[in-house]
Symmetry: C2
Subunit: 163 residues, 2 copies
């Protein structure tokens, strides 16, 4: 499989997971947390699935296509480990979905980031909320869910916060 094949497969898997979550959460109230804006493509996709008013994006900097940048109230700039705790006051128990696109090229650094994010992310989520992540999360509060058909194993990880 070429890198082009693998890239298309990864992007498609990401979309399948987002679409799956939108279907699962249809009609449910709550915020969407997008950890990692990047080029803004998945944010744009989330906007096509959910109300943009409900989507809060976290990233260290804004390097997205200008069309794909949330307004000031929905773009939280800074290190996840400092911005997530700051959001807790307003957001505790409010989110129905977190999409975490937090992996870098460095596998062990990505896993460690995921471990450190977990205690700050978990309180923001409603019972029953979903996490879609490119890194595994390890915590009692979550039940791991099977990925949608066609999504390769160990590429995306799905969790539901226990009720």
């Amino acid at each position: 499989m070429s890198r082009l094949d693998s890239f298309i497969r990864r992007m498609s898997a990401q979309r399948d997971c987002l679409n799956w979550a939108a279907e699962e959460l249809k009609g449910a109230p709550g915020a969407i947390l997008e950890l990692g804006l990047g080029n803004g493509r998945t944010y744009d996709h989330l906007r096509s699935l959910f109300d943009a008013e409900d989507i809060y994006v976290f990233d260290r900097h804004v390097k997205a296509h200008p069309d794909c940048v949330p307004d000031h109230a929905h773009m939280i700039i800074g290190d996840f480990l400092s911005t997530l705790p700051k959001t807790a006051e307003k957001m505790t128990g409010k989110a129905k979905l977190a999409h975490c696109d937090i992996g870098s090229g460095d596998k062990s650094a990505s896993l460690s980031l995921s471990d450190r994010i977990y205690p700050h992310l978990e309180p923001l989520l409603q019972p029953g909320a979903l996490i879609i992540s490119d890194q595994p999360f390890d915590g009692e509060a979550f039940e791991e869910l099977p990925v949608p058909a066609g999504v390769p194993a160990n590429r995306y990880y799905l969790y539901r916060k226990r009720i």
Copy 2:
């Protein structure tokens, strides 16, 4: 259609065009010219379809994943408009395929680059050679071909050099 949808569609269309060309050119001798290395994903895909020994990559700089960089003899660094003419001595009439991933965000600059590349690219191609390009080429020497089924119009352009 979200930017994620559109991106997946574009990457898939590119792959479909490359796979189509590989099928069309099966068993034919000749070089492959890759104009634009970028991150190296399509170069890696070309390597999965053709003999790497036959693939020559042109780009202004090398910013690809280290696994996707051709060796010194197959990586021609510099502006297309200066490197293509320099290659003519060795390559005239040798190439069976050129893949041109030359568009930038600026549409009129991309079209103008395509026009300026044309006189330098055309002599390197065998009669019957194929061009896959993200920009239209306008020249008597080429016949435009229909894109494979499923590839959106005006996204990729296919040409065959007249015999």
